[in-house]
Symmetry: C2
Subunit: 146 residues, 2 copies
């Protein structure tokens, strides 16, 4: 499978868009960050490498990366849009600690299958889903026992 950089280049070419140093830097920084990064966080990291890059360019590039399915938006419901690397990654859901914010990526094939069945039962063709489990992690549970 081609690397994300190449996939992005292809996407740009297919749309008659251009590769630029800014886009290269933003993608590279995004991949290295490899988490659930917000546009602003990404902007700060990028700015550290090249202070001349504008915030709008980060927003615009992140949009392109989403359109090309290289990035995907994840929404933890806290009002901030976050992105994660999607290209070449397996699907996963999220298990989030409401105390410390720890975030574990999870998959359960049985649940995935049941979701398909459930959608079908209602005549839907399932395209994607988002599942977030919110709870309290081990560490935070222990902490509260003090």
């Amino acid at each position: 499978m081609k690397p994300p950089e190449k996939a992005f280049l292809d996407y740009l070419a297919s749309r008659n868009l251009k590769m630029t140093p800014q886009r290269r830097l933003i993608l590279e920084t995004f991949i290295k960050a490899d988490g659930h990064i917000s546009s602003e966080e990404l902007y700060n990291k990028v700015k550290a490498k090249d202070p001349s890059v504008g915030q709008a360019t980060v927003y615009r590039t992140l949009k392109l990366l989403s359109e090309s399915d290289i990035a995907e938006a994840v929404d933890f419901g806290d009002g901030v849009a976050r992105y994660e690397l999607h290209y070449g990654q397996e699907h996963h859901d999220h298990l989030i600690c409401e105390r410390c914010g720890k975030n574990i990526e999870i998959v359960d094939p049985t649940i995935e299958k049941l979701q398909e069945d459930l959608a079908e039962k209602y005549g839907f063709e399932l395209q994607r889903h988002k599942m977030y489990l919110f709870g309290v992690c081990d560490k935070c549970k222990k902490k509260s026992e003090d």
Copy 2:
């Protein structure tokens, strides 16, 4: 089980807050709307009944309703905060048609159980979850066959 109006009254009393005609009207309108209503939609309905009510009051009341678990925010990822009646309702998830926006409330006990197990496996104490299935409904599928 006491009606939501009473539950709200109790919540207000417990916090030394006051019941007002505006809050009464907003809650009543919210309950009648009974769907996945945004603050602005609710504001418009309320305004139709009493044009003197301000938008900020609707936002503030919706916040109170959420805090008291009478309403719950649902997020379909389209950037608009929606609310649904939570008090006295059973938990459910959402099956959303990406074409027409149709929204079906669903529950699958098996999935619910598996979510519990999954959280436990990672040492989490599950508190709540959100599951959204996005797809294309029957009608829209047929429409696209034309």
